[in-house]
Amino acid sequence: MERPTKRLTQLSLLLSCALVLGAVERWIPLPVPVPGAKIGLSNIVVLAVLLRYGLKEALAVAFMKSLVLMALFGSPVSFLYSVCGGLGSVLVMALMKKRWSEKFSVMGISVAGAAVHYLMQLTVAALILRTPALYGYFPYMVLMSIPTGVFTGAAAFYLNRVTEKLDRV
């Protein structure tokens, strides 16, 4: 981890994983009547980067992921949802990792991150559409953050087991 080139290569590789997951995710609808509801597959990578590298790197991956996905598929509006959700959840997960890493496991951190991600997206959407009634979706989002958070948290844990092996290459 001390060599900057190796670090850069690993992070680039992980970013490209996040992009692929973000693209694939568009084809997996969730069985809830909430617009824009997704599992958050690319957040597996963001969380893994946060745990292994740190806050700066995780913010960079979250931002770049939103930016490139916008260029490929989205609109400036979907970029706003995505980037606010992504950065908000990274900050909360970083805080939990720093303060309470003995109390919460990766999955607990991830669940909180998922909840914040959904909440931020909802807030941005409510502001853009000037419709506070959008918070009617909030209960669905809160419930959804539990399974999606556990799943992405567990996946991030196993992803880091794999990336650790890259250090020996």
Binding site: P35, V106, M107, R130, A154
Partner: protein
């Protein structure tokens, strides 16, 4: 980080808290009284309005400022999105709404269908 993947009691506490919050809010929102007006908004502009009772039935095609057409319909006082020109059709999949405060959202088109009024407010009168 820990070496093995295991839920801690704090994880479970957090999840239980979110679960109770989610279910609580859900119960709270579905207890609303049926509304008496349906409004369709594009951004914050009302582009269509209709009174709502248990017998209300209509179908209305609305052309938006972006040129897309959305079809709002009602049957037996339940309002639903019958069709929309958008990539995801989440609004159509949302299904029917009839309680005051419920919404259908078409995010790509910036369209919101919402139910307002209902019991607790004065009965709507036609002037």
């Amino acid at each position: 980080m820990t070496k093995a993947l295991k839920l801690t009691k704090w994880d479970i506490l957090l999840m239980a808290l979110l679960f109770v919050l989610g279910v609580g809010l859900l119960v709270f929102t579905v207890q609303g009284a049926p509304g008496n007006t349906v409004q369709v908004l594009e951004d914050d502009r009302v582009i269509f309005e209709h009174t709502l009772s248990a017998e209300t039935a209509f179908e209305k095609e609305l052309t938006l400022s972006n040129g897309h057409v959305v079809t709002v319909a009602a049957e037996n006082g339940r309002v639903y999105m019958a069709g929309a020109e958008c990539p995801d059709h989440t609004c159509v999949k949302t299904g029917a709404i009839h309680r005051s405060g419920q919404v259908i959202v078409c995010l790509p088109n910036h369209v919101v269908v919402k139910i307002t009024g209902g019991e607790g407010e004065l009965d709507g009168k036609t002037y």
